[in-house]
């Protein structure tokens, strides 16, 4: 069975139902609108470029075991693993990956969302506060007193 998805900029994608159902949102919409499946499902927060990438990801992972419980994604208990395909998939520029994370969050494609979050965590790893500020264009708004406290805490992380 096929499902039709429509991106925010009006592009239509036709995918297998089991592929589309990796998105929790689409899965729920399909249940609610069972009698109305001839119409495309509108994804108002996801552009065509991002939707194409999300579909590419879902196509590859269509046979993965579904995980509904958030507990299973607790990265402390179970680190987020990437296979070779996932590693290739994440070789995109930062802006694209951030857009993909937002798309995955909007569509609730949890495995992709967590893959993206791992990518985001990897970006800030080993970066200095200044480098993070520069990357995300954030201002340093600490007062001198707060700066002292932060410096003190920094010593503890070195122990």
């Amino acid at each position: 069975m096929k499902v039709t998805l429509e991106s925010s900029d009006g592009q239509v994608f036709t995918v297998d139902k089991e592929v589309a159902e990796l998105s929790v949102i689409i899965k729920e919409m399909l249940v609610i609108e069972q009698a109305n499946q001839d119409h495309p499902i509108p994804l108002l927060n996801v552009g065509a470029v991002e939707l194409a990438k999300v579909i590419e990801y879902c196509e590859h992972h269509r046979n993965d075991p579904t995980i509904d419980d958030d507990e299973d994604y607790d990265s402390r208990k179970k680190p987020i693993e990437m296979d070779d395909w996932d590693k290739q998939f994440t070789i995109v520029n930062k802006e694209m990956m951030f857009e993909l994370i937002l798309a995955a969050n909007s569509m609730q494609v949890k495995p992709l969302l967590h893959l993206g979050c791992r990518y985001a965590a990897d970006i800030v790893k080993r970066m200095s506060p200044t480098e993070i500020r520069d990357l995300f264009q954030i201002d340093d708004d600490f007062t001198p007193e707060e700066q002292d406290k932060i410096e003190w805490e920094k010593q503890w992380t070195k122990l």
Binding site: Y73, D74, S75, R76, P79, I80, F98, I101, L102, N105, L113, H114, G116, C117, R118, A120, A121, V124, K125, R126, M127, S128, P129, I132, R133, F136, I138, D139, D140, D141, F142, E146, K149, I150, W152, E153, K154, Q155, W156, T157, L159
Partner: protein, 131 residues
């Protein structure tokens, strides 16, 4: 992405303490978000080493309502060495009391005490209170 609270758990739980500390120094907002992850489990601090067990037990007692006096805290573990107690006191109270990490390091790196150094609650020199 870093502005989506629902993603905080997934992102920050993958960072090591050093990286979390760097993130906490970005600005006020990042500090507020990251600090709970940075200090969520202070028993994970590497410097605790083999003192972790004693430290954890002291944490439990300290956080209980009965931990109102030095004597009550030390009585169940009269065989606990003073170094462990000072380490615990410095660390636990440090988050509000700003102890000197250098002083703590000197305690940690002082020569090992032989046997179990007992804390005598009646001794004025040991009369340190947990609050």
């Amino acid at each position: 992405m870093f502005d989506l609270p629902e993603l905080d758990d997934v992102i920050y739980q993958q960072l090591r303490r050093h990286d979390l500390a760097q993130c906490a120094r970005v600005n006020k907002k990042w500090n507020r978000v990251v600090s709970p992850y940075l200090w969520s489990d202070i028993t994970e601090l590497g410097f605790l080493g083999d003192r972790r067990k004693n430290f954890r037990r002291m944490m439990i007692i300290f956080s209980s309502n009965n931990a109102t006096s030095y004597k009550r805290i030390t009585t169940p573990w009269s065989n606990m060495c003073k170094k462990d107690y000072l380490l615990w006191k410095s660390t636990v109270l440090g988050f509000s009391g700003y102890p000197d990490p250098g002083a703590l390091q000197s305690i940690l790196h002082s020569p090992e005490e032989t046997g179990n150094t007992r804390i005598d609650p009646t001794s004025p020199t040991n009369a340190v209170h947990p609050s």
